[in-house]
Point group: C2
Chain length 404, copies 2
């Protein structure tokens, strides 16, 4: 009799956003005449920029002609895209990353979930808390997190690095042994980030202790402040201790287009074994490349016209972020983030739990956000709102909260 | 100090097709005036059918307008595609599979590689031999195959089920304990298949012994004979013991478009745990859906016009298969497959090894095929040619082999 991977059974309940969807559906059923505004899940609302649409049409036409048809893509991505990424996202920022250190994928969620396969089952994992659930759940499935304690909301073998208003959202370096550290900066869900000097301390720590950093830079395009790094490879020594994962979902609205990439520097070795070679083998064995049409869309992101259009798109969302942040602050709420990231992380009023505030906001204002506790134990007492809505909805949400 | 997954280090050498590519590049460098015809890797050459191109243009336009823009897709795939699949690939064949048992993905290679995550690390794996390398390599990476013995070309903990001319390409049922059995029918690389009655024996065996069958039906569109099943769910009891993986790469030429799906029936349970729920959790955690544009392309595959166009495309490749099979048979080679699959599996002449014949064919005729030994120890002494080339190249290849 075959046996299942018992680690799956350790995962508690349903995924955060499924629970929210169910609660909202129930509310809408009971209040058919109430308008509901969704500022919960981090999905974009602006259409794909014109120059990208044009590039996709061209690529679709190519696929329809024998002379220009493209079959299997190169395992690790087309050169035209890898070169554009290396040039714009790295060399122009002074980070020495070459095209063949870039692995094109179908999205940062896949890469975030799959990257842990490279590590031994007994590696100790550290995450900032609150955190994007994929890092934790994918390691639970691989048996690295021990058991879940419902009372504390914690996994027995996972090292939590609290990141809250108490430490000004600058987590302390780990004080216990750990092997693999996940950092998402600018951060989902808190919307806060670290300066270059602060991140350098993490890189130095990792090199000193022999840790590996998985650096998720999905929200990089939203950075507005000068001293915030756009890639971990701006830090000295990062190529010896860090893998960086990037997304096209938030800078170019590709949540439904699906494209991402991961950088594994050639210098990155563990006892002589190249992680670059391991990830290449993983890609070659369990993945068959991102669609040609989508990789051409990715290339257009880096064209002069594409960059111009996307700068406007990011500015649109960041104006939403400003409206939410200033609106809520003006009402007396404590708000964080929203300056270098499209998320506003607010303290719940009156020491309400995150889920109680979720209910109050839904019932009182018809606004859907995300309970902070869904991102980890240190998220309790916080609440996330996203700036990815349409302007009119965002304004209406703030107005409804004001009247609540 | 973090530690790597040591199983990766057990994988021998490079991927089969990388080795071939290097040999061909070397030959071309030394013989710049010789024409090389590639009938090696199973990549298609015909452009995407007009009705699918048209559907993708429409979907691209939708993505460019706020009113019709699509962000994150439903985790498990859009209903329009899941319903089309359930209707055409299952209900119309008398197989009772519902849309919510279908999980849309970015391709059968990903699903084939990832599906093993659902099983415990100590499950014993069985594969037919020769076999698509992904099944083996993905289980090696998870530590299920033991160690590799270069002399025999075998993994110590893997159960091999020889499938050769000696048993008329009908493998014997396992005579030792095993838990998970991979079957690819019609088969890559042998191009042979089983009848419905023969497959029913495997389903009965799996239900009796408590085994799970991973059924790869990537080449289903090439079936021409009446008594060959188009899905394992045509067999009684298969919903209690089988997961089916399907590709759009070979029936619709999507090798560079990327789309596939996996069926996990709701009945399929292991000691009360639903594998459907487990795969849903895996999808929800480590995958973010196939692109909207590509799912619309998949829907067009099932339209009346799409079906008509693709029937012609499959017929084109099957005429190539006939030309190769009859051409080689006429020259005195022993050939198999090519009737229900786009692969011709030939015995090497004069007891040559697969790689020796690879060299002779490349040097003597400028034709690239795939050495059978690359697919497993029982592939030694065989050679694979694909029918996915262009007609003129296929004809030229046969002519060059004739003159060799």
């Amino acid at each position: 009799m075959y046996r299942i991977n018992a680690n799956y059974g350790k995962l508690p309940g349903s995924y955060l956003f499924s629970t929210i969807a169910k609660k909202v559906a129930e509310f809408e059923k009971q209040n058919p005449d109430r308008k509901v505004i969704r500022l919960g899940i981090g999905d974009v609302t602006q259409p794909i920029a014109p120059s990208i649409i044009s590039a996709m049409h061209t690529a679709v036409d190519e696929m329809g002609l024998a002379e220009t048809f493209h079959g299997y893509a190169p395992d690790l991505g087309y050169s035209f895209l890898r070169e554009a990424i290396a040039e714009s996202d790295y060399r122009q920022r002074g980070a020495d990353i070459s095209p063949d250190e870039i692995f094109v994928s179908d999205g940062a969620k896949s890469d975030s979930g799959n990257i842990q396969e490279l590590f031994s089952a007994d590696c100790k994992i550290a995450v900032t808390d609150p955190v994007y659930p994929v890092y934790v759940d994918s390691n639970v499935m691989a048996g690295r997190c021990g058991d879940y304690d419902a009372a504390s909301g914690k996994w027995s073998d996972l090292l939590y690095l609290p990141t809250t208003a108490d430490n000004n959202f600058v987590p302390e370096l780990p004080d216990r042994e750990c092997d693999v550290i996940y950092l998402c900066l600018p951060n989902n869900p808190t919307g806060t980030t670290l300066t270059r000097d602060q991140l350098q301390k993490w890189v130095d720590f990792a090199n000193e202790k022999g840790c590996l950093i998985i650096y998720d830079g999905a929200y990089e395009a939203y950075i507005s402040e000068e001293d915030v790094p756009h890639t971990i490879y701006e830090c000295n020594g990062a190529k010896n201790c860090a893998i960086e994962i990037k997304s096209f979902s938030k800078n170019a609205g590709f949540t439904g287009v699906r494209l991402g990439y991961t950088v594994v520097p050639k210098e990155l070795k563990c006892e002589g074994v190249s992680l670059h070679d391991m990830w290449a083998r993983r890609h070659g064995t369990k993945f068959n490349g991102a669609p040609y049409i989508i990789q051409r869309a990715g290339e257009a992101v880096y064209s002069a016209q594409g960059k111009k259009e996307l700068k406007e798109q990011v500015a649109y969302y960041m104006e939403n972020a400003r409206l939410i942040r200033e609106g809520l602050t003006g009402m007396g709420y404590d708000c964080y983030g929203g300056v270098n990231a499209p998320y506003i992380w607010m303290k719940t009023p009156d020491n309400m739990t995150s889920w109680d505030f979720f209910d109050r906001l839904l019932e009182g204002a018809g606004v859907v956000g995300t309970p902070g506790s869904g991102f980890g134990p240190s998220g309790e007492g916080y609440f996330r709102l996203t700036a990815f809505g349409q302007r009119s909805n965002t304004e209406a949400a703030i107005e409804a909260i004001r009247k609540m």
